[in-house]
Amino acid sequence: MELSVAITQLLNGIALGMLLFLLGAGLSLMFGLMGIVNLAHGSYFMVGGYTGLSVLEGTGNFILAIFAGAASGALLGFLTERFLMRRVYGLRHHEPILLTFALSLILSDFSLYVWTGIPRWVQPPSFLSSSIDMGGIFYPAYRFAIILAGVLVFALLYWFQEKTRWGAIVRAGVEDKEMATGLGINIPMVFTLVFCLGAFIAGFGGFVGSPILGLHTGLDFEVIMLALAVVVVGGIGSLPGCLATCLLLGLADTFGKVFWQKYASLTIYVIVVIVLLVKPAGLFGKKS
């Protein structure tokens, strides 16, 4: 492989990894805190993307569209937690899963109804539509922006989790819910917050990623598989671990497509299976 191709693919892999991070960070946090697998998380991503698209078409403002996408995700996350999940915590673990599965089916048809099934591509804003010249290698500026956005979200999340009072409360909840409740922390409130935050980031990622991934029917079911892969490979409880996993999976998928095109869609899942069998708690997981 030529060096220029290798560098381009490397950057593609990192950009994909950052999108995976936007998708998986929230899911990982929910899994760690509430012990639920939210199968509707991919739907927040897709609905966020579509909402952003509508706002972009309506106003022409890309930044506003990003916020609209993220806000629609957060709203869905809030509704899910407040009106559905809250009723099934502490039940057998298949009830929350199936409830979120049902929700993902509803949102899938909802998107089909509102935005029809025609595949859509979002154009990057004009100030990011050019390519950047790196000594003869041209690389789209928009993908650089995605990498930058991923790093920024990671930094903000890390700061939130490690340095703020709310972050400390979330960490306490992940560690020991009963003790945190005993110390007077309003755990249901924390659950809602984490749901909103996770869905906010997913909605954000959905729109930011739409110029690369496109928007089409079934996108939700495709990305939820990637998000689950992130959660199980990375393990729960470590944000830097989550980012590292996302980059690993993004690179593996990208280079998989280069080297064994026919089996490329399997690359990530082969990693998932191997990691779960060898290290069930995940590569960076603190507990099983």
């Binding site: 697998v37 298949h94 599965f101 089916l105 048809d109 089909l112 199980v232 299976v273």
Partner: protein
Amino acid sequence: MTSDKWKWVFYAVLGIVLVILIPLSPRYVQTLAISIIIYSIYVCSTNLLTGYTGLVSLGQAIFWGSAAYLVAILTTHGVVKNFYLVFLIAILSVMIIGAAFGVLALRAKRLYFMILTFAFGHVVWSIAMYALQPVTYGFNGIRDILRPDLGLSWSLENNSNFYYFTLAVGALCFFIVSLIIHSPFGRILVGIRDNEHRMIALGCNTFLYKFLSYIVSAIIAGVGGILFAYFNGYVNPSELHWVWSGEALMMMFIGGIGTFWGPALGALVFTGLRYWVSAYTMYWFGVEGTIFVLVVLFFRGGISGFITDLPRRKIPSKP
């Protein structure tokens, strides 16, 4: 004794409807009944694994779809024509796939088990979709699967004959599951579902029992898949998709999880509703999801739970 009496009334009515009334009904009723029975078999296999053993799997479609694909590939490519041989090959293959995935997946617990089955499901789906495209025709699926020839003078091209055939296979599957859940083996599965640590403390090799339950459930799902391929005449990758595994869980839950008739009730409601709703709207997923949310929020025992709770609800009798 009254509950026993009602039980026999139920069986008698069920028998009359299934054996006499449906074959006399118009063709579309028969077709609907055939799909209900086939889906019942599939949901029944899920129920054995999830309802009785407590293992939530999102990979049940692997076995349904693999069996269906094997039938499709073997018959349309003219490799094997004999129905009994096709059946045997499909079942053995599903058993081997089940054993391989079971050994691996059961090393993980609870949600990790579910995600692992999910990953396996995706691997198998990708293989059918991309890797084996020359054989499976990828997204387009395999068409023109002919009805099986049993080697009898009794042709399955005839719809009501095919209905009787499906009914017989379905009854056999339900009978086998009934034997399993009432046997000591089945009681151990329920014990594992309710408290695995206690079963381990009692000296039970829970891995072995879960493994056997996984394989039996795979085989039953495979039987459903075989019938489906012959009935539908067309197989595509959505039969292997994890959403179809999720729908099995939903049907089981709607019917009543961990109850004997739950899968049949769930499949009946699911298929009937889909038939009825499809006449009005293309958004079946939305309707299905909404109904399921309502069931989880308000009728947690599903239809079976609702029916068995009826006598206990204090309905004031007329003075």
